[in-house]
């Protein structure tokens, strides 16, 4: 039993960190957030060369064939760098769903180009109810045609294909198919843009067996929690550095316990989120019985913690933390978007309750 990284995992973490530091510094992030889609084709090609776009998918679909723990490490580094654009939407969400429920033929057609870095995609789940409960989905396909609206769809304008969760299955739609209307939603996070989708008699192709959808979304949720850990770590690092150098009353502000204790709490929240997301990744990889519970624990904790870490970081920075010029708000905006994506803390606490409290009632009754 070893709750630490293996040498090859450390190597991946290290090379991903160096890659993002070189290819996606904050100057690049700042440039991309001013664009419509925050997508950069040159950066995308470089990520594909690294094998990032196929990281957890099988060799037969041109994937890299690594495991969920490696995915989590990559996402943590992407989060640290505040990587803009459709990596999460394409690889983690769409790639994960295609891999879990597509037929072999569909994987060749839709997943393999994602792995090769040739195509981008996303998954549309939410509707006007904005509920992550699967039962809340209203849209359904009639004779293969979609009619209706999806909201809060990440990176849809950068996508070549759209994966749509409907009542009667999961469907893939060509982004330029007839009757597809993609409209930006103006939202806080500037690095991962949100869109509304409207379908009018849009032709679609049904993906294989939707039974694998919950597991695919669990992997995406754990990956998102790990990305949040990366954002928290960077926020902590920036803040500690500032507390060491910013002087007031003739001293670095980090000497004051009121400041130091905020930083200590940021550390506690970041490390605890990291423990939970690493474990969730491992549990998913190993298919342990409590994997879904572990995912909800990780996302629940990270959702609250990333907001708290951002709050503290901005507070420690004082007036500087409130400026546009300082990078903290970019992380803070991402944290808010990620907090609600795939279920916020309240949603996941309810899921934990179903798994841990309601099952206790069943045990009590059967005993």
């Amino acid at each position: 039993m070893q709750f630490g990284l293996s040498d090859s995992q450390k190597l991946l973490q290290d090379s991903a960190r160096k890659f993002f530091a070189a290819e996606c510094p904050m100057s690049q992030v700042r440039r991309l957030i001013e664009t419509d889609t925050a997508y950069d084709s040159a950066l995308w090609s470089k990520m594909a060369e690294q094998g990032f776009t196929g990281i957890i998918f099988a060799d037969e679909y041109d994937g890299t064939g690594l495991g969920t723990v490696e995915l989590i490490l990559l996402m943590e580094e992407a989060g640290r760098a505040l990587l803009p654009g459709p990596f999460f939407s394409t690889v983690v969400l769409a790639g994960g769903v295609l891999n879990a429920i597509g037929t072999a033929e569909q994987k060749k057609k839709y997943l393999a180009p994602i792995c090769r870095g040739e195509r981008r995609s996303t998954v549309a789940i939410l509707e006007s109810s904005a509920s992550w409960e699967p039962a809340s989905v209203q849209l359904s396909a009639v004779n293969g045609k979609l009619n209706g609206e999806k909201l809060f769809v990440p990176d849809a304008a950068a996508a070549d294909s759209l994966i749509v969760v409907a009542r009667n299955g999961v469907f893939v739609v060509d982004a330029d198919a007839p009757g597809v209307h993609i409209e930006p939603m103006s939202a806080m996070d500037l690095t991962r843009k949100l869109y509304s989708l409207r379908f009018e008699n849009t032709p679609s192709e049904k993906l294989g067996d939707p039974a694998g959808l919950p597991k695919a979304l669990d992997v995406a949720t754990a990956a998102l929690a790990a990305e949040m850990v990366g954002g928290m770590q960077r926020t902590l690092d920036i803040t500690v550095e500032y507390a060491k150098t910013r002087k007031q009353f003739g001293k670095p502000i980090g000497v004051f316990q009121a400041v130091q204790h905020q930083c200590a709490d940021m550390y506690l929240e970041t490390e605890s989120s990291r423990s939970a997301s690493y474990y969730a990744a491992w549990a998913l990889e190993e298919n342990v019985p409590d994997a879904a519970l572990a995912v909800s624990i990780a996302k629940m904790y990270a959702s609250d913690a990333s907001r708290a870490v951002g709050n503290r970081g901005i507070q420690v920075h004082g007036g500087m933390g409130f400026t546009w010029e300082n990078d903290l708000h970019l992380y803070y905006r991402r944290a808010k978007a990620s907090e609600t994506m795939l279920g916020d803390a309240i949603f996941h606490r309810e899921r934990i309750a179903r798994l841990a409290i309601d099952s206790a009632a069943r045990t009590a009754k059967s005993a």
């Binding site: 039993m1 070893q2 709750f3 630490g4 990284l5 293996s6 995992q9 723990v69 500690v240 507390a243 060491k244 001293k251 670095p252 980090g254 000497v255 004051f256 316990q257 400041v259 130091q260 204790h261 930083c263 200590a264 709490d265 550390y267 506690l268 490390e271 605890s272 990291r274 423990s275 939970a276 690493y278 474990y279 491992w282 190993e286 572990a294 909800s296 624990i297 629940m300 904790y301 309240i346 606490r349 309810e350 934990i352 309750a353 841990a356 409290i357 309601d358 206790a360 009632a361 009590a364």
Partner: protein, 395 residues
């Protein structure tokens, strides 16, 4: 990262499981809620049994009666003890904190003299660190020891000594050189509590019981052979004790918390709230789920810390997050219990209407001490700020 057990770990676990299946007492529930003065002989007997099976101190080297268990095996040990809801040991401080310090800093003669009786619970150990004027600022302690012939003569007062009422021996930090900087003139001595001049008085705490003691030392003779480590190096010896206290020692608490949340979840199905079981109340569900998750994260933080420690051999300052985490978590857990129980939450064990023999009213009051004992949350945050994050020292 691989949380699957290795063959060796599996063998360790299975051996422990087999031993527990044959030796775990069946009547712990009848003793659990009795006052510790009453249950203490029971706990001693349980520890003796553990010791006979070689399970009292698995982390200790084989030559001193342990199993030289790896940190991961220690984690497995505590998970298994949690799983079967095993009683605690009697000599908690001896096994968890003071024994390891003696093994790390003691002479061979000291190890031979003290270690076997710590294991067998024949001699119970307590710890004399805090003083009325030296709490968080431990290095400011005033209990002094002057050399006279072959003995140190100890004078002073210690406070908040756990197990003082039953202690046979005490690990005491004393000032041996008042002329140097406060950290530098300290020495750790092992004091026989039956020595003339040692006066133990119960310290009544806000729960009404006296878990801790005050110890007064008046002209107490301690042979120089009882110095642990080097003279005037007591700060380092004490720090290594405190690291154990904040590190691996915290793992044992998971046992208690897991039991508490399981019981709260069980209670939530019978306690009524707004005309239906509390388990159906959305607010209570949210709070129980939060607590359940945090108890799991506490376990995971511990496992990660163990993995880190496995590389360095010593608990690091990261242990401070474990202390903050568990102490504040228990306060939240007790608060949820109170919210669920409503007016029943305040009932003491003596009341015939009390839920679970009053453990929740007791736990609520007792948990206030959690963020104070073993290093206040403020001190722990200072440690993280300075030693982990590298911020300038604030004190």
């Amino acid at each position: 990262m691989d949380l699957n057990l290795t063959d060796e770990e599996l063998q360790f676990r299975d051996e422990l499981r087999a031993w527990l299946a044959a030796n775990l007492p069946k009547d712990w529930n009848e003793w659990r809620e009795k006052p510790i003065e009453v249950s203490f002989p029971y706990l001693r007997a349980w520890q003796r049994k553990l010791h006979e099976g070689g399970w009292a101190a698995v982390s200790w080297p084989k030559e001193y009666g342990g199993r030289s268990a790896s940190l991961m095996q220690q984690a497995i040990f505590w998970e298994e003890m949690t799983r079967v809801d095993a009683p605690p040991t009697a000599n908690t401080l001896g096994l968890g904190i003071i024994g390891p310090t003696i093994i790390a800093h003691g002479t061979e003669a000291q190890k031979k003299r003290y270690i076997p009786k710590i294991l067998s619970a024949e001699e119970i150990w307590c710890q004399g660190f805090s003083e009325p004027n030296a709490g968080s600022d431990l290095a400011g302690l005033q209990t002094e020891a002057r050399l006279e012939g072959g003995d140190y003569i100890v004078n002073g007062q210690k406070v908040w000594t756990s197990y003082g009422w039953v202690g046979d021996w005490c690990e005491v930090v004393v000032r041996t050189d008042p002329s140097v900087a406060k950290h530098k003139g300290l020495t750790v001595v092992l004091v026989d509590m039956k020595s003339p001049g040692v006066d133990v008085r119960p310290l009544r705490q806000m729960t009404g019981e006296s878990e801790f003691s005050e110890i007064f030392f008046r002209e107490v003779r301690v042979p120089v052979a009882n110095v642990l480590g080097s003279v005037n190096d007591g700060w380092n010896v004490a720090i290594s004790t405190l690291m154990h206290e904040r590190g691996a020692f915290g793992a044992r608490l998971h046992l208690l918390f897991k039991r508490s949340i399981d019981r709260l979840i069980e209670l939530s199905h019978s306690i009524q709230r707004n005309g239906s079981p509390a388990a159906k109340d959305p607010l209570i569900r949210q709070k129980l789920a939060q607590c359940y998750a945090e108890i799991e994260i506490m376990r995971l933080n511990q496992l990660r810390a163990f993995s880190r420690m496995a590389a360095t051999g010593m608990p690091g300052p990261e242990g401070s997050i474990l202390k903050i985490f568990w102490s504040e978590l228990n306060q939240r857990l007790q608060q949820i219990a109170q919210e669920m129980l409503g007016p029943y939450g305040q009932l003491l064990g003596a009341d015939r209407h009390a839920v679970d023999h009053g453990i929740w009213s007791y736990g609520y009051l007792r948990s206030r001490g959690n963020t104070i004992e073993a290093g206040t949350s403020e001190v722990q945050r200072n440690i993280i700020g300075h030693f982990v994050l590298g911020l300038p020292r604030s004190y």
